[in-house]
């Protein structure tokens, strides 16, 4: 949105092609259009509910409804919650942290009654506070890392007082509702027959290995879990954009200081260029929009640098080490879509399979509906830790970014390339 507004402000003709029915992405997820969103999109043509399944050279943006021609493309497809598998994570009642928040913020519905929030990252706090604020009973918030690590970056929080104030606000909400918050604790298993009825929580070491003797069972009907975010880079990869490993171990599109990718005419901004939250996304988005028009802004460059500096510390304070692999049982589902269990992946690795793509071909992990979005990084971690960029790219490559009906394809007036 920031990119669209900046480009439109610079005199360009702009179309926003948005997957969702309402603008705002994951952050501005309100029941009606947020004023900031409305202001940004005032001079822009907004196509709602358009699911981009491919972008071809030249450029043609293909959606299930229509195709849109453009001279330049700005990819700002955001990110989704990152997950690591654990026994029972496929039970109904286990939700991604972002999904739990989306239900409350966007749909006015609670995901359940007795909720545990777990995983890692600053995002857990607004999720928990939002659930509590909506009337849920949050029985515990379990952060696998230790945010006290921020002291290793003296001055960082002092340079970003807003973040501290924001965190303090969420902590105050949790304290007011007497929600216990434990650091260095993980949910190591979820239990239930056909839906969640309890989780096992344990203290963990720096590698996320459970400390013996610390496990305890907590009854709950809902678990909201997330370990940071995985950028949605497939449209950029399909266009041939260069990608690289970000500091958090995820795959991002490589951009220069104008937010231009390695493919002429293709720009990228927001989480696809590095997970960093909405302020960084707004700054990089606006710079991308200006760059398409051949312009820049010193103020925005400073803002981007400021917020990038904070974002750079996050994977160091909230890493996702590979100790979670040791908590998997042989029958733990790793690929949810194809129901590939850990023992199948372990067997492939023991056969001598060295790369993620070969594991995918042998086990079907990553071949299901979600095309490896949820399991890709986990599977890549099982073939080599930390996974290299090409292993992640192999799991992130999707010819079609979204499913499309053959009927919709046939109904389109096409031009043969």
């Amino acid at each position: 949105m920031a990119g669209a507004a900046a480009a439109a402000g610079a005199g360009l003709s702009v179309v926003v092609v948005d997957f969702a029915d309402r603008p705002g992405g994951q952050y501005f997820r309100h029941r009606s259009v947020h004023p900031t969103v409305a202001r940004l999109l005032a001079d822009v043509r907004f196509l709602a509910g358009h699911r981009v399944f491919a972008i071809s050279a030249g450029f043609v943006v293909h959606t299930q409804i229509q195709q849109v021609r453009a001279d330049a493309v700005l990819i700002a497809t955001g990110a989704h919650d990152r997950q690591v598998p654990f026994p029972g994570w496929d039970l109904p009642g286990v939700f991604a942290a972002g999904g739990a928040q989306a239900l409350v913020k966007g749909h006015g519905v609670l995901p359940g009654r007795r909720i545990v929030v777990a995983g890692t990252g600053p995002f857990l706090l607004p999720v928990a506070a939002g659930l509590v604020g909506a009337g849920a009973s949050v029985v515990g918030v379990f952060e696998a890392n230790d945010p006290a690590r921020f002291v290793r970056f003296p001055g960082l929080l002092a340079r970003h007082p807003g973040k501290l104030v924001e965190a303090a606000r969420y902590l105050a909400v949790l304290a007011r509702h007497r929600v216990p918050l434990r650091t260095r604790h993980c949910v190591v298993a979820a239990h239930g027959d056909d839906e969640l009825s309890a989780v096992t929580v344990a203290r963990v070491d720096r590698s996320w290995r459970p400390v013996p003797g610390t496990a305890r069972r907590i009854s709950c009907d809902t678990l909201a879990v997330g370990c940071g975010f995985t950028p949605q880079v497939e449209l950029g990869l399909a266009l041939g954009c260069a990608s690289r490993l970000a500091a958090d171990g995820g795959l991002v599109l490589t951009v220069d200081d104008r937010q231009a990718t390695s493919v002429p005419g293709v720009y990228a901004a927001g989480e696809v260029t590095g997970v960093g939250g909405y302020r960084l996304a707004m700054a990089s988005g606006a710079l991308a929009g200006l760059a398409v028009a051949g312009r820049s802004s010193a103020r925005l460059v400073r803002s981007r640098a400021r917020h990038s500096a904070f974002a750079a510390a996050l994977p160091l304070v909230y890493p996702v080490p590979d100790g979670w692999i040791s908590g998997l049982a042989g029958d733990t589902i790793v690929c949810r879509c194809e129901e590939v269990r850990f023992d199948a992946i372990r067997a492939a690795v023991e056969l001598g399979v060295q790369d993620a793509r070969a594991v995918k071909l042998l086990t079907r992990a990553g071949m299901g509906w979600c095309q490896g979005r949820i399991c890709g990084q986990s599977v890549a971690s099982m073939t080599g830790t930390p996974p290299a960029a090409d292993a992640l790219a192999a799991m992130a490559w999707r010819t079609l970014a979204q499913p499309v009906l053959l009927g919709d394809l046939a109904a389109m007036e096409g031009e043969r390339e």
Partner: protein, 81 residues
């Protein structure tokens, strides 16, 4: 007079703007699909349209992601085949 959708023959209340998944969850329905290999129940997981766990049939159209499909009054929703 609240709006309603029909799910598996049951009338469920809905609020305009809610997704099909939100309507189902608000009614206490937490799973509406079973997996192909092990027959395990699935409902909502990622909530934002990327995991495809929440597939449901809406007005005869199969494999619709319930979490990113807006519920409309009178929609007939049934379990994914």
């Amino acid at each position: 007079m609240t709006d309603h959708v029909v799910f598996d023959g049951r009338s469920l209340p809905m609020v305009p703007g809610q997704s099909v998944a939100a309507v189902l969850l608000a009614a206490g329905i937490r799973s509406w699909r079973t997996t192909r290999v092990f027959g395990r129940p699935r409902g909502l997981f990622c909530g934002i349209g990327v995991c495809f766990d929440c597939l449901v049939t809406v007005n005869g159209t199969a494999s619709v992601r319930a979490c990113v499909t807006e519920a409309r009054p009178g929609d007939v929703i049934s379990r994914a085949v």
